[in-house]
């Protein structure tokens, strides 16, 4: 979660400038809040995945679902698709569009978003 918080702090420059860092620090120290506010870059990288894999990764068709998977599982899977270690028809072409940091953010997003739906 380190990445999430650091990124939130750096991207929330407007509200920090207006309010001082107090509000952000409060959010950052509240563990429940961490789960509610996804990393904005991670979110924007991840939202398009739902078009093939279903909302939040919950597929209703033959394309594999990844709802409920851990961030570690997802990060490994994406890296393996990217390298070709794991066979795919389409996924490898997508995975090659993301660098390691972006893959990490996507894995964090989908690896935690389902916990908020509990």
């Amino acid at each position: 979660m380190q990445v999430t918080i650091r990124s939130l702090l750096t991207t929330c420059f407007v509200s920090s400038a207006l309010l001082g860092a107090g509000a952000e620090a409060t959010a950052a120290t509240n563990p429940a809040q961490k789960a509610m506010e996804p990393n904005p870059r991670g979110q924007i990288l991840s939202l398009s995945c739902a078009s093939c894999h279903g909302t939040d990764g919950k597929s209703v068709g033959v394309i594999p679902s990844f709802y409920g998977k851990s961030p570690e599982y997802l990060e490994t899977a994406l890296k393996d698709f990217k390298s070709g270690k794991r066979y795919s028809t389409v996924m490898g072409r997508h995975a090659k569009g993301y660098n390691d940091e972006e893959i990490h953010l996507i894995a964090q997003y989908f690896g935690t978003v389902w916990q908020n739906n509990k």
Binding site: L18, I44, L45, H53, V60, G61, V62, I63, K96, G97
Partner: protein, 430 residues
Amino acid sequence: MSHNISRRDFNKLLVTGVAGSALGIFGTIKPAFAAQKRVVVIGGGFGGAAAAKYLKKLDSSISVTLVEPKATFYTCPFSNWVLGGMRTMQDIGHTYTLLKSKYGINVLADSATGIDAAKGTVTLKSGKVLNYDRLIVSPGIDFKWSAIEGYSESVSQTKMPHAYEAGAQTILLHKQLLAMKNGGKVIICPPGNPFRCPPGPYERASLIAHYLKAKKPKSKILILDAKDKFSKQGLFKKGWDTLYPGMIEWRSGPTGGKVTKVDAGSMSVTTDFGVEKGDVINIIPPQQAGKIAFKAGLTDASGWCPVNPSTFESTIHPGIHVIGDACIAGAMPKSGFAASSQGKVAAASIIRLFQGKEPAPPSLVNTCYSLIGTDYGISVAGVYSLSPTGIIEVPGSGGLTPMDADADHLREEAMFAEGWYKNISQDIWG
């Protein structure tokens, strides 16, 4: 940031910055002092409906109104499957029931007739006026009816359908195919670039061939193309040679493909090389942004809408975001997938702007599956990011189904095409 923030907007940002932070602290509790933010979305297709749903999904405190005249939206994706006899119209129709009941979106069965960007209002056909803090315009395409001599909206509705907006047009073209004699000729006339769904006309030729091969095998398909090349050309041609040898002929613009005139009476089209008669003629006219984009002054000389590639906010009218086929999105094709990806980026950006925060750098995706036969699917994929020159495809990513893909691969892609349709429909309207 290149956002053009007026004093009025900046004051708004100050207020929403406070509200956004308060929301951040108290979770879902809505602070009493924050006026509810209002977003109006015009158009309930792949772009608009996705934007409306994701605005609510990501921040339920926002008031979202979706303006869409049709009670049932028929998708262009998979409408070629209807022409091929593999799907019914019912299979490709989606309603707004769940967007209303599950997500609390205010869906108005109405159409926008005017936008006042200075006042922040949308006027509807019913006379109703909606106020917005931010507006999303996702109007799809309009046809340049005068581009081909003899073609008109009324000709499209009676004799030569375009079938490039799904619904009555799809049904008309399908009926004509069913009524055609064995040994008849189908002519498909795709436009020049840019246009909606670049592989669409060629998937259409494939699935019409699928139907004709089974039911009317002496028939032929002639594609008279304004272009000199087309999307997934190598893959389509290989598929046609494999599944429908001798049935589909494609003529490029420079070799007599460009149609300049049609005659509905004699069911013929004219190119630089002469006249061709057809039993079924599908004219896909050149296109431009949907009507409301023109009315609102959101278009430039190209007939499409220039936008900030980070947030899809109009570079002409701040506060209005244009997504989908109507906007100019750099390297992205005009597709339902692209529209939905843009809708999500616009929604996430608007939420950040309401919170007084900088929108995250965008990441966009497109995948276009095309079916050539029941077990023969191909695709083009793309991942897009922002560069100083606009939206570009991430180097080394994406691309086409390999030319040497084996039968198992092609079968899996055909299955994935179906899986994709189920998930994107569910993700947008479900």
